[in-house]
């Protein structure tokens, strides 16, 4: 028999448990990327030259090296650095790695969104004497972010699909769990098929969520 329903049902709880780790890593990693990506975008726009150079170099560097190499570095090499070295749990290292990697892509997305806000908006903000912080918070970002929500959403789904990489730093996420189950029972068809379906279902739900958010944001103006 190619597909054994009893077996499939029996492994479902373990897979769902592992899925929680995957979802948790995605949410935390993406939250980190959203915030750090925005900081990188600010950094690149900064009038302080050193800051904008460092931010730019950082973005270029992270974007041109593999995620896997960054994960290895954070998990295995970081603890060995003198003074600054810290040991992170596999999951924390994984979240940090995903977050940093994706933040460099998100920073470019933010940048495009910010650049698309007309100059006149900045000038109106100056004419009304808003502080720099208020200008960003109340005037620029609320106009810069809604148009980039779909792109941010795509990166969220991309990050979700990249979570199996975390198994390389010993995080027991969904795909690794499926492999362990398969190795024990010598049946791989059910676990890997179910992993595929779970990824598909969640990606689909996320894309619906993004569409809904996009609709909500655009219906305001």
């Amino acid at each position: 028999m190619l597909w054994n329903w009893d077996y499939a049902l029996s492994i479902l709880p373990s897979l769902l448990e592992a899925l929680q780790v995957t979802i948790y890593a995605t949410i935390m990693g993406f939250a980190f990327a959203l915030i750090f990506g925005l900081l990188l975008a600010f950094g690149r726009r900064s009038k302080i030259r050193v800051l904008s150079l460092i931010s730019g170099a950082f973005v270029e560097f992270i974007r041109s090296t593999p995620l896997l190499a960054q994960l290895f570095f954070i998990f295995y090499a970081l603890p060995q650095l003198p003074y600054v070295g810290i040991s992170l749990s596999p999951l924390t290292a994984g979240i940090l790695g995903l977050g940093i990697h994706y933040s460099t892509y998100l920073s470019e997305v933010y940048r495009a969104g910010i650049d698309a806000v007309p100059r006149g908006q900045w000038e109106a903000a100056i004419a009304l004497n808003f502080s720099k912080g208020r200008t960003w918070l109340n005037i620029i970002l609320p106009q810069a972010i809604p148009p980039i929500v779909p792109v941010l959403g795509n990166y969220l789904i991309g990050m979700f699909k990249d979570t199996p990489m975390l198994s390389a730093v010993t995080v027991v996420e969904l795909l690794l769990t499926a492999r362990i189950i398969g190795t024990h029972s010598f049946r791989f068809i059910e676990p890997f098929t179910m992993v595929g379906i779970l990824f598909l279902v969640l990606s689909y739900i996320s894309s619906l969520g993004v569409q809904w958010l996009e609709y909500r944001l655009n219906s305001r103006t």
């Binding site: 000038e123 004419a127 004497n129 502080s131 720099k132 103006t221």
Partner: protein, 254 residues
Amino acid sequence: MVRFHRVSKSFGDLEVLRDINLEIAPSEIVAIIGSSGSGKTTLVRMLMTLEKPTSGTIEVDGELLWHKKENGRLVPADEKHLRKVRSKVGMVFQQFNLFPHMKILRNVTEAPIHVLGLSREEAEQEAISMLEKVGLGDKLDAYPSQLSGGQQQRVAIARALVMHPKVMLFDEVTSALDPELVGEVLQVLKEIAAEGKTTMLIVTHEMDFAREVADRIVFIDGGRILEEGPPEQLFGNPRNQRTREFLSRFRRTI
């Protein structure tokens, strides 16, 4: 109230304004006229701190705008000083520049709340009465994109007025409007002028309007003030050849 002293402005090699000297008294209404590219916008943008003069000084209400005195010497102003002096100036733009993501009421309350520190109730009360004054009391819950150009520009005027600037700058505020909407905006400007509380600097191509409301007309050409004087004199009996040419060219094209 405003004093330009030997102000020049260059963009790279291009000298846009040269040696501008201009004094504006409190509550005075000054109209700036001149052909396109003569530097009118740049002049008012420097007063709004959107453009930095290359040389010279600008004073607003007795305070230097782009400089401050430190041990008797002039040093470039920092952001804090700029914000303090800038609070005396307000501006209305050719393209309105309303905040598209905010409803009309919030467009007008945002700065009083977050810049002046008013409570929401105070700010809304004043915003509503200001919007009523410009004839838009029924549009509080609309978004800017739902209004006509003339209505948007009146909102922009209300938004600037609730900050109670001592000096208001208007840069060709009717130039982006369909001809039939120009009148309603000029009417609002006339009302502000009639109140006599605000010093106004109006860049305009509406000569009849300028003649009617302005105390003084300033003609700018090629980055210099070529002639200034009361409307009757400048329109009726211009001294400078370039002014005469400009005005006659204008009458022909209108």
